[in-house]
Structure formats: structure tokens, C-alpha cells
């Protein structure tokens, strides 16, 4: 048996047709000045107008049937998302809802929730934020203290605090991991549940946190006696830990785990067209080989997910390797650009490389740190 499961996938002409369509559209939008390319666009670059356009094209909500979904394959969604990353398009508003919470609602939502929320997500009009980390619970996620207390009438009373919730200031909903009953002795994984929170509910307050570059995309969210309806519980009461870990495994292998900095490389290649010296060429050759390999691994997992297989270790591995590569790409682009005098670089290039550098620290933190990923891989190797 092979140590890991990474199938090699042949290019599919039907997917390439979709790619051309998406590419043509994004190119036209960019040339019309409707967006500026940015690295890490899926996290920090939000534009509700652009999200609605993506929704109209049928490029959000591709993976579910009915409720506004387009019933297309996970591979088709992969092609669309990797193209938006290449172009550094402002997809941050809808990214999390489309990737994470829509599939969660499809699986665990009530009929009413599905009918109400899913079509709006697919239209690019309804956005979500993630409520996992807390001031006292980062990598040690099971230490969350936010509490949902069941009221006699079946509703829930929510109290606590979430942190680093990206996009919470624009989000219509948030899904949070909360404690619904005490831990069983030393087993803290029991008694955790996931709840759906309407951000307009009374008692929810959002306070932006400014990042080191001066942007405020992540937030501190406080719940002060927030009353949630009975159906706010997503999935099983007490089954939150299992739900969260399987959800994380699904989202760790996507193209945004190795292409966050690709927009920087794209601009550099345009900028250096016909001017690349031997140092730049050697570096480009190396990161090109790395990118091609990571894409093979990530797309191989997308194929497994399409078949209903969710390989946790392989996903962790792609995330760890891919996040390191994102930073390696940025560092190599710096070196490539050093062949040109500063005054020959366009303002666009200078802006993008600066954003790329400033937005690099979270690559290896969000969605589980590199250290957590390495722990998962080590367990698979039989070392833990």
C-alpha cells in the first residue's frame, strides 16, 4: 500500500472549457477596472458587488442541488475557485459561506434554514464568519468556553467570546463551536456543539481587530445573553467536535492553501516579460515545479472528496506544504524583482508585493497552524 492517497488526475476537456469561460470573464472584469488583483484575495479582498456577479454567473453554490445550488461537481468548483485566486479577484465576501457553511447547512440545516439561506449564499448575497478560536482557545480548540444553555422552551442562551473571525463585520451569520454540556472528566471533546447565529440578533457585538498592515478584516465577536431559536443547533447536540474536525479536513486541501500568493507571481511574470535574467529564471523554474506538484496533490484530493472520501492526513499535508510554498513564492518573487531597478517596477507591482509580504504571516496560522498539521501527519506516521 502507498503511504498516502494522492491519485494522479488526467486533464478533463470539459473542465478546461469551464476554465476558459471563467478566465475570459475575470480578465474582462479586471481590464474594465472592476477589481485590482491582490494576493490572499479569498480572505482580505471583499466586494459584495463582485460576489453578486459571481452568483449570477452560477459560480457560487456549485455543489448543492436545489435551494439555489447548481448541482455541479466539486472539480468544477475547484476550477472556478483556482481561477479567482490566480486573478486575485475580490472573492472574500462569499468565500467562507460557499466553501464551508453552505455544505454544513445542506447536511445539518432544517428545511426552513435551507430554503431561507442557501439561495442567498448562491446569489452571492449572504456571508458567513467562522466562530472557532477564542481568547483562551487557539490551537487548543477544545478549550472553548462560549456556552449555549438550553432554555425550558428549547431555545438557547449564548454567552462568550470568539476571536479572529474574518469578515464578521460583513457577515449575516456565524457558525460557532460552543459548549452545550460540561466535559466528561478529562474528555473535553464531549459536550461541544455547533450553533448558527444570526449576526443581527440582540446581544451580538462585533469589534474589529486591526492587523499589522492596518487593515481590519478580522474581529472579536461577543455574545451577551444572545437568545437563539431551538433550530440554531446544527447537527447533533454534543457532536460538535466531530463535525468541526471533519469540516476542517474538507477545507484544508483546497487551492487557497497554496495559491494565496499566486497573484504576486502572476504580476511579476507580466512585469518581467522579456527582461528575466538567469537568477530570476532559475527561481521561476523552481517554484513552478513546486506549484505544479502541489496542484497535483490538491486536485487529487478534490477528486477523492468528489467520491465521498475525506483523507484527513493528506489534507493536512497539502495545507502544511502549500502554506510554506505560498511564502516561498513571495520570497522568490522578491528575488526575481531584484534584477530590475526599483524605478522600473510599476506601482501595481510594488503594491502587490508589499501586500504579499504583509499578508504572509497568517498563511501558516489560519485553519490550523503548521504545528497542528505536523501533529496530524506524525500521528499517521505512527509517531504519536
Amino acid at each position: 500500500m502507498n503511504r498516502f492517497n494522492f491519485p494522479t488526475i488526467k486533464p478533463d476537456p470539459a473542465l478546461e472549457e469551464l476554465r476558459s469561460e471563467v478566465q475570459a470573464y475575470l480578465r474582462a472584469e479586471k481590464e474594465a477596472g472592476n477589481f485590482q488583483s491582490e494576493p490572499e484575495c479569498w480572505m482580505s479582498s471583499s466586494d459584495p458587488i463582485f460576489s453578486r456577479k459571481m452568483g449570477k454567473r452560477g459560480w457560487i453554490g456549485m455543489n448543492w442541488k436545489g435551494y439555489g445550488g447548481h448541482n455541479r461537481s466539486a472539480l468544477e468548483r475547484y476550477i472556478v475557485t483556482e481561477e479567482t485566486l490566480r486573478f486575485g479577484a475580490p472573492v472574500g465576501a462569499h468565500w467562507i459561506a460557499d466553501r464551508q457553511h453552505a455544505p454544513m447547512l445542506v447536511e445539518h440545516g432544517t428545511e426552513a434554514q435551507k430554503e431561507d439561506i442557501l439561495p442567498r449564499i448562491a446569489a452571492g448575497e449572504c456571508y458567513f464568519a467562522i466562530g472557532l478560536s477564542e481568547p483562551g482557545a487557539g490551537s487548543d480548540l477544545a478549550a472553548v468556553k462560549t456556552k449555549a444553555e438550553k432554555l425550558p422552551d428549547g431555545r438557547w442562551k449564548l454567552n462568550g467570546q470568539k476571536i479572529w473571525s474574518s469578515g464578521a463585520q460583513h457577515a449575516h451569520y456565524m457558525v460557532s463551536l460552543v459548549r452545550t454540556s460540561p466535559p466528561d472528566g478529562r474528555n473535553r471533546h464531549v459536550g461541544l456543539s455547533q450553533v448558527l447565529i444570526d449576526m443581527s440578533a440582540e446581544g451580538v457585538s462585533v469589534k474589529p481587530i486591526t492587523d499589522l498592515a492596518g487593515d481590519a478584516h478580522f474581529n472579536e465577536v461577543t455574545y451577551d445573553d444572545v437568545i437563539l431559536p431551538a433550530d440554531a443547533l446544527l447537527g447533533e447536540e454534543g457532536g460538535g467536535w466531530k463535525q468541526v474536525t471533519s469540516e476542517l479536513a474538507m477545507e484544508r486541501s483546497g487551492p487557497e492553501r497554496f495559491l494565496s500568493s499566486y497573484a504576486t507571481l502572476e504580476q511579476a511574470v507580466i512585469e518581467l516579460q522579456g527582461k528575466m535574467g538567469s537568477n530570476a529564471r532559475a527561481r521561476l523554474g523552481l517554484i513552478y515545479a513546486n506549484l505544479r506538484t502541489l496542484r497535483g496533490m490538491s486536485f487529487g484530493i478534490a477528486n477523492l472528496l468528489e467520491q465521498g472520501i475525506s483523507p484527513e492526513t493528506e489534507a493536512a499535508l497539502v495545507k502544511d506544504l502549500g502554506n510554506s510554498l505560498e511564502n516561498k513564492v513571495t520570497q522568490n518573487v522578491r528575488a526575481m524583482l531584484s534584477e530590475l531597478p526599483m524605478n522600473e517596477l510599476s506601482d501595481t507591482m510594488k503594491r502587490i508585493i508589499n501586500i504579499g509580504i504583509l499578508r504572509s504571516p497568517p498563511n501558516t496560522l489560519r485553519g490550523g497552524t503548521s504545528e497542528v498539521m505536523r501533529g496530524i501527519i506524525a500521528r499517521q506516521l505512527g509517531l504519536r
Partner: protein
Amino acid sequence: MIDIESLIAQSAAKIHERNGGRALLHGEIAPNSYWDAIIENGLHLAWASEESGGFGADLSEVAGAIWNMTPAPLPFVETLIANKLLELGGLELAEGRASFAIGAADGTHIIPFAQQVDDVVLFSEGQIAHYKSSDLSGTALDSLSPDTDGVADFSKTNPINSAQTNISRPMIEAIILTLRSVQMAAALDGALSLSIDHVSAREQFGRPLSKFQAIQHQLAVAASQVAAANMAASQACAALSNNIESAWHEAVIAKVQISDSIEGATAAFQQVHGAIGYTMEYDLHLHTRRLWAWREALGNEHIWAQKLGDDLAQKDSDNLWRGVTTGAW
């Protein structure tokens, strides 16, 4: 696209185990019985087409056989490549241990595993020629690996058979780099297994090394590189299997990626083994020394990254992206 459970791969695994498995690898030359079993099972002819006298097996199955025999000290990969070259030249296949050389401008050519082979197939622009080793005068090259390469001057010797060919140098490079990439991925995987075994057995400070997070993380990172190497080799095999004329690009990518992976991974494997990994007695060097040698063979990753970059620099950003996403060039 490396099928280690194919019939051919299983038969390779059996031959490997019967002839000593891990233990035999310490010899500089594999026992004759190992090679005899390869011949008996026709594995040396597995990849050559049926029309040329081979068995026409798919590369994914052949790659599985290479994987399962790595790092045995015998010229199995070299023989597969030599016979593929003979097939492409429309020449009769070699019956025994064979190797290959690819023409250099000065007339002297490097022959991998030169000491152990009876036949050498030389590719030079426009020609494929079959030589007997005994007719060639050459010298052994200083090597990182126990499998000694040689260098010979072919200009004063007549081949026993030759043919004009329109096969291009990049096609030959694609073949060599792809099969080597499978070997390198396999040796990385083997070294990872040794490392896991070692850190699980070795105790310090009253517990196995595997229980230290510093060790776990080093091997986790190395394992990611092993997986990347496997993917790069698989993509190269898929491309070569699909069409030899367009396989060069993925083969070079595999060469660059895997060589890049070797750097960090072998450092971690040596480190977690401690001093025992630095000895001739212990198995690790059988993998790591060959990895360092194969990384250099036909030029190292810096040379090939430069060639890839030269190609990329001629094209635009659309081309780069198409390469990343589809492998097409």
C-alpha cells in the same frame, strides 16, 4: 501512476525479498540470483513494446517494479532505459545488464552503473547505437553513490548495431528523468520508513525518540516532501505514458521538485538517526547516498530549474498558469 501492486510490481517485490531484501543491499553488487530472476521473469523487457520483443507493459506497472526494487545495487532502471532506446531505434533489445549514455560534445560520455553492464546504448543527435561494454575503454568516475558510473570514449569503437533516428534529445531526457524520478521517490519513501522504525525503537531520556515533538515535526515535514516527490514522479509517469513527445516538461518538473525535496528530507532522516545514520554499517546511506547521486545525474536541479525558467521566460503568464494547472505546455 505508480502502481506498486501491479503483477509486475509484485513479482519485483518477491524477487527483491527472496534475494535478501534489506540485507542484500549492503553488497556493492547484488547476487547473481537476483539478476537471474529478473531475466527469468522478463522484467528487463517489461517496458519495451511487443513489436520490439518486449512485453509492452504500461509505465505505471513498470514504475511499481522500479519502486519495489529500489535501492537494490543492480542496473535494472538502466537496462529498462537502454532497451527503450533500442526499441525507439528499431534495434534488437539487449539480453542482459545494460546501460545508456547520452552524447556529449567532446565525445566522452558518462555511463551510469558502468561497472556492471554488458551492453551500452548511446544516444547522440540523429543516432542510436548499441555497444558491447567489453569493446569500450573507460574509467570509473568518483561517485556519491555505491553504484559506480563510468566514462568512456566511444569514438574509437564500432557499435554492434546502430540506426539513424529522428528521436529528439528532449524525448530521451524525458525517459531518463522520469524513470530516475520514480527511483528517487522510492528511495525517499524507503528512508522515511527506516527513520520511523529507528525513532520508534531508539530510546533516550527514558522514552522513544518518536515521542518527542521535535522529532515528530521533523519527520512530518520530511514525509510531506516524500509525498510531493511521489506526486511529481507520478505526474511524470502519466505524461510519458500519454505521449513521449510532450513528456519533457513534466519530467523536468519531477527532477526539480524531487531534488528540492531531497535536500530537506535527507537532512531530517540523517538528523533523527543521529550518529548511527552516518555509519556504513547501518542501512540509511543506501538510500541517502543514492538520492544524492541521482539528484546530480544528468545535471542537478539548479541546471534543470534554469532550463525550465528559460522556457517559461519565453512565454507569458497564461502559459505559466496552464502549466501549473494542466501540465500542458
